[in-house]
């Protein structure tokens, strides 16, 4: 870093906010170059005289650095290497660091020679809307031919393909006053608000505080004093490298803090970027102003640059952007660039002023600057750089050449109204500066150049007032007192509107998307007159720079075509993001396995140790099956299912939703929520319940237990646990607020395990204490408390598999102890743990419906549960369940299906057809290979239902080209008399 390097040709010996004592080396397109701390990539490149930094989007024209900030349209780079490479980074905002590796974009094979520059010669055939018009037919060509070709040719940069090694995080901040932008207005606003005692956040996208002050040596003392004063205020949080990108409802703003983008890699335990959500009582937008371009032929040539940018490079970075400069301006403020360039060592500056001779021009002349009043630039010539500027008297014929390597352009300044506009603050036209300015809205105000108060002193005064007013509105009335900048009169910022030089050649209004004045006029001729339509047709202002430099110029060209004043045409609506942000920052912590929280049961570790394959069920991870070494999935599932049918199995059912319901009206509440009755349920007994939605469709099912007269324990399906809770909350809070009911989720309080199979009782009897499990003492649907291995348990005699079964629930912290004890007790019966797949197999064999059948489109009658409806009394869904469409006897009803050739696979989703017919009679909802009947079976919803038992149909699955002969049967493949569960 400290190796001796020769001073780059365009770097001044002194001046600016760079540390010349330290030299940084970096690479650009493979070439090793040097810069200093305080440089951006752009300033370091300009110091070395680098002119072309990219190729344009459509015509692949060579492009140079155009601005000195985030409004940059041209100078985009991929920065970093490998997985850390970030495309489309604005060189003008990228803080230089030791070892930076940057690559230009959108050129092939190299910057100097680009194969697609031929597009420029073909421009006549590539007008606005070209893609829409040309690639219309044949439609089949889109995917295979047109789109890949367009994507290869277009595109902006390449994303890294490896996983990002860095981490990103979210963060939330609150404040009384948020000040966006730390220029003269922002610094003054933050200090005024801070000194009043308010909690202040000052967000600045740049790595230095100061904004326009950084290019203004006259006021450097004031800038330092202000930043020091802010640092001393404990209630002001300064956030450099933080871009506020969006303004949302109720003063919530989004911001990206680039924590470590200025380092080769983030320090340990530090995020690369932080996505801030800032909630502010009051907001001061001190976002400054963006200089606008003028449309003239060749205004995109490398060597053409905004006047303020040339001044910033000279004053802030000590970099001379060109030795023989022309300034093309319609305003006096831009004359400051003349001084800056002269001071930085330019050989000559010539001013082409569109206006008659004015005070600034006259003053420049007295200093020996050549000024051409009433003139305009009609061309910028050169190959890979700028050689000469062609000018003429305004509107005249012909022209003359001015030898130049730098053309500075200033068409006036637009207040940076993006955030104000996003917040729906009304915008007003200010004819003095020919730009839109924001008004105020509740909780926010703009200050300084952001509302057209140009000039350091005016902006600072405006900022101080805005900061004080914002603090007062937030309840902090103390008046601040500090000095405003002195010395240096503010320039006159009124402009004579001047948008376009009418002459032959491509005049760009959007440099990044290669939109010309001709494109805007074409859009108008083709009927896209509205600014929003013209924008979309031409893509004007839709690039990553959001039209910050040429947006209003394009609107003015459209206005001229329409014969309207530009303020009547207006600007397209501004939307987030003000500047692009990375996806990594949006995702933050929640990527890969952290995308959503993973819920684990208390037996998760046991399942892992046992080698379970897991299945996602909502946010839960559930064991699907437990394969033995080398065992195929179906073999494991059938083995587990067979263990339950023949002896005993145990399944973790902790994920079922569980709700504790209490209150004097608890039973009544359940009667209204479920289609069947619970008020008649005895204490210590469970009952299966079916819940409908308001529209009459089945919502959820589960068992509910009465623990006391006023106390119930409800279970729901795993999938619907949250929704059932919401359903209950909705009815308790809004429909029947008079009921005395309290309920809460106890899903995580209780672990639950199903012990099922002919040997279930023998197994549990060995370990359950304090409860007689004998059928007479503890019949089907009985519930009782007991202990097991010293742990409290609640035993439910319920069955999903169709076998003799018990569900053992225990406070979750005891789950592992209880589980292990049952496994140990069942060892003599060769107990097997079984997963969700075997659970599904068993319930399909038994004909129990689950999520695939209760899919929101089925009624109770469809799934054979119509008899559950209570005869007396209302319940949710009763009225709408009586609709004709829901009671139509032709509706598909639940049936069983078995493959005629048992080994022939059938698939869920297959349609059931009569042989030779293409009319669907129904569909397969659930299928499985089976243990007891053997072979492939399933549950289906079939028009005709039970009347079709014994019929043979085709299960057709056209996506796989399959048609399988199946026989329709009862859905109860196992124990239709229900004898086993009562054994």
């Amino acid at each position: 870093m400290t190796r001796m390097h020769r001073r780059p040709a365009m770097r001044a010996r002194t001046g600016g906010h760079i540390d010349r004592d330290t030299t940084l080396t970096f690479r650009f397109d493979g070439r090793e170059l040097t810069g200093h701390p305080g440089d951006t990539l752009a300033s370091a490149l300009l110091a070395h005289g680098v002119r072309i930094v990219g190729r344009s989007f459509k015509y692949h024209r060579p492009r140079g650095i155009y601005t000195a900030g985030p409004e940059e349209p041209n100078a985009l780079a991929g920065i970093g290497t490998g997985a850390r490479r970030t495309p489309n980074t604005k060189m003008t905002a990228a803080e230089l660091y030791q070892g930076m590796v940057a690559e230009s974009q959108n050129r092939w094979p190299s910057l100097r020679f680009d194969a697609l520059a031929v597009n420029s010669a073909l421009a006549r055939f590539l007008p606005a809307g070209f893609y829409y018009k040309t690639f219309m037919w044949p439609a089949s060509f889109w995917e295979k031919v047109y789109e890949p070709a367009i994507r290869r040719a277009a595109g902006l940069g390449r994303a890294a393909t490896e996983p990002d090694p860095d981490h990103y995080e979210a963060a939330h901040a609150h404040c009384d006053v948020l000040v966006v932008g730390a220029g003269a207005a922002g610094l003054a606003a933050a200090r005024a608000a801070g000194e009043s005692g308010a909690r202040v956040i000052l967000a600045e996208q740049d790595f230095l505080l100061g904004g326009g002050l950084l290019a203004d040596p006259v006021h450097e003392g004031w800038r330092r004093e202000m930043t020091a004063a802010l640092e001393a205020l404990g209630n002001v949080v300064r956030m450099p490298r933080t871009t506020v990108f969006g303004y949302y409802e109720q003063n919530m703003l989004g911001a990206i803090e680039r924590v470590a983008d200025h380092l080769p890699e983030p320090p340990p335990h530090t995020a690369r970027q932080r996505y801030w959500t800032i909630r502010a009582r009051e907001v001061v937008l001190a976002t400054g102003a963006d200089e606008r371009l003028i449309a003239f032929p060749g205004n995109d040539r490398p060597g053409v640059m905004l006047a303020g940018a040339a001044r910033a490079y000279a004053n802030r970075f000590g970099v001379l952007a060109g030795r023989r400069a022309v300034l093309f301006t319609n305003n006096d403020a831009a004359y400051a660039t003349v001084e800056a360039l002269a001071a930085a060592g330019a050989d000559r500056v010539t001013v082409v002023d569109t206006r008659p001779l004015g005070p600034a021009a006259a003053a420049a002349r007295t200093r020996g600057v050549e000024v051409l009043p009433g003139h305009e630039v009609v061309g910028a010539h050169g190959g890979r750089g700028l050689y000469s500027v062609e000018a003429r008297a305004r509107g005249g014929d012909g022209g003359f050449q001015i030898d130049a390597d730098l053309l500075c352009v200033s068409g006036g300044y637009n207040p940076a109204i993006h955030l104000a506009s996003q917040s729906r603050t009304p915008l007003a036209w200010d004819s003095g500066i020919a730009a839109f300015v924001p008004g105020t809205a509740a909780g926010q105000r703009s200050a300084g150049a952001a509302r057209g108060r140009f000039g350091i002193a005016a902006a600072a005064r405006d900022g101080m007032e805005a900061g004080g007013a914002a603090a007062a509105a937030a309840g902090f009335a103390r008046r601040p007192a500090f000095e405003l900048p002195a010395g240096g009169a503010d320039p006159d910022l009124t402009v004579a509107p001047f948008w376009e030089v009418t002459a032959r050649g491509k005049s760009f209004v959007d440099l990044q998307h290669d939109v010309t004045t001709a494109d805007i006029r074409l859009a108008h001729r083709e009927g896209y007159e509205h600014i929003e339509h013209a924008k979309r047709y031409t893509t004007h202002g839709m690039a990553t720079d959001q039209g910050k430099t040429g947006g209003l110029v394009g609107a003015a060209v459209l206005a001229e075509a329409r014969g309207l004043p530009v303020e009547a045409v207006g600007m397209p609506t501004f939307r987030p993001y003000v500047t692009p942000i990375t996806w990594g920052a949006v995702a933050g912590h929640h990527i890969r396995r952290e995308f959503a929280p993973i819920r684990r049961t208390q037996l998760h570790d046991w399942h892992v140790r046992r080698g379970a394959e897991f299945l996602e069920a909502g946010l839960w991870l559930r064991p699907a099956f437990y394969p033995r070494p080398g065992e195929a999935p179906w073999d494991a599932i059938l083995r587990e299912g067979a263990a339950v049918r023949r002896s005993v199995g145990i399944c973790d059912v902790s994920t079922l939703g569980k709700i504790d319901l209490q209150g004097a009206d608890a039973a009544f509440f359940l009667d209204r929520l479920y289609m069947n009755t619970f008020s008649t349920l005895a204490v210590g007994r469970a009952r299966y319940g079916l819940m409908l939605r308001e529209d009459g469709m089945v919502f959820d099912d589960g068992t509910t237990t009465r623990l006391a007269d006023d106390h119930f324990f409800i279970t729901t399906t795993t999938a619907n646990a949250g929704r059932v809770m919401e359903h209950m909350e909705f009815h308790a809070q809004t429909v029947w607020p008079e009921l005395d009911v309290q309920f809460t989720s106890v899903t995580d309080q209780w672990a639950a395990m199903s012990v099922a199979g002919p040997n279930a009782r023998r197994t549990l009897a060995k370990v359950v204490a304090g409860l007689d499990l004998d059928n007479a003492a503890f019949p089907f649907m009985g519930v009782a408390d007991a202990t097991l291995a010293g742990c409290p348990v609640r035993v439910f005699r319920i069955s999903f598999s169709g076998e003799l079964a018990f569900e053992v629930a225990t406070p979750a912290g005891y789950a592992a102890i209880v589980w292990e004890a049952i496994l140990e007790a069942g060892r003599e019966f060769a107990i097997e743990p079984y997963g969700v797949e075997a659970l599904g197999l068993l319930r399909i064999e038994k004909g129990h419906v689950a999520g695939a059948e209760l899919n929101g489109q089925t009624t109770a009658a469809d799934v054979g549960l119509e008899r559950m409806a209570k005869k007396k009394g209302d319940f949710v869904g009763k009225a709408l369940a009586g609709r004709p469409g829901l009671t139509d006897p032709a509706r598909p009803r639940l049936v069983g299906v078995r493959a005629v050739a048992p080994d022939q696979q059938i698939r869920p989703g297959a349609h059931l057809l009569e042989a030779g017919s293409d009319r669907s009679l129904g569909w397969l909802a659930s299928v499985t290979k089976s243990v007891e009947p053997g072979g492939w079976i399933g549950l289906a919803l079939l028009s005709g239902g039970a009347a079709r038992h014994g019929q043979r149909l085709q299960a057709s699955f056209p996506l796989h080209g399959e048609s399988v002969e199946v026989e329709i049967c009862s859905p109860h493949f196992v124990d239709p008399e229900n004898a086993r569960v009562r054994a």
Partner: protein, 203 residues
Amino acid sequence: MSAPESRPAPEPRSPLAGHLKPGRHGAAGSRPLVLREVPATIVELAARRGRAAELAAAVRGALALDLPPPGRGAAAAGATALWIQPDTWLVVAPRGTEGALAAHLKGVAGAAGSVVDQSHGKTLLHLAGADARAALGKGCRIDLDPAAFGPGRAAVTQMAQVGCVLYQHDDVPSFSLIVPSSYAIPFFDWLCHSAAEFGYEVP
């Protein structure tokens, strides 16, 4: 139904068992955060309709604990009550005999309150240290600044997609965080991630 007589239950297993790694983690710094799990008894107490005053009086009489108003917690010897929703509180106490606090509270509340033991269903974490607010701020949308929040304040909110009850104990500041046990691991992982920048210690 009444629980059968039995010997004391074994020690329950934490959902974070094997996941909490005691020691110093994250960045080296002079003032690490302290992050630990606190074994606790947590009981949800809800007033029956229209009987909140009666319940509050009963609890005050038996536990010398004032059920706090919305947004607050109240601590008494041996137990802290946190407001979590209208007429509903979490009563948090050091872990004791299984079910004992719930049974005691049911006895105190009688027909004026509904009592649900959530000791296993909820996991209590404790985070303390000068940078605790900044660490929590990476997921917590609530303003934790002393001007807006402080000792005695409680909130029910979401952090890192997980529903969480938050309670501030003191000006250290130290916070209790109560999350559903099935979410304990992802929540703890997020919290560790958020605290790593400041360095943290798991005792």
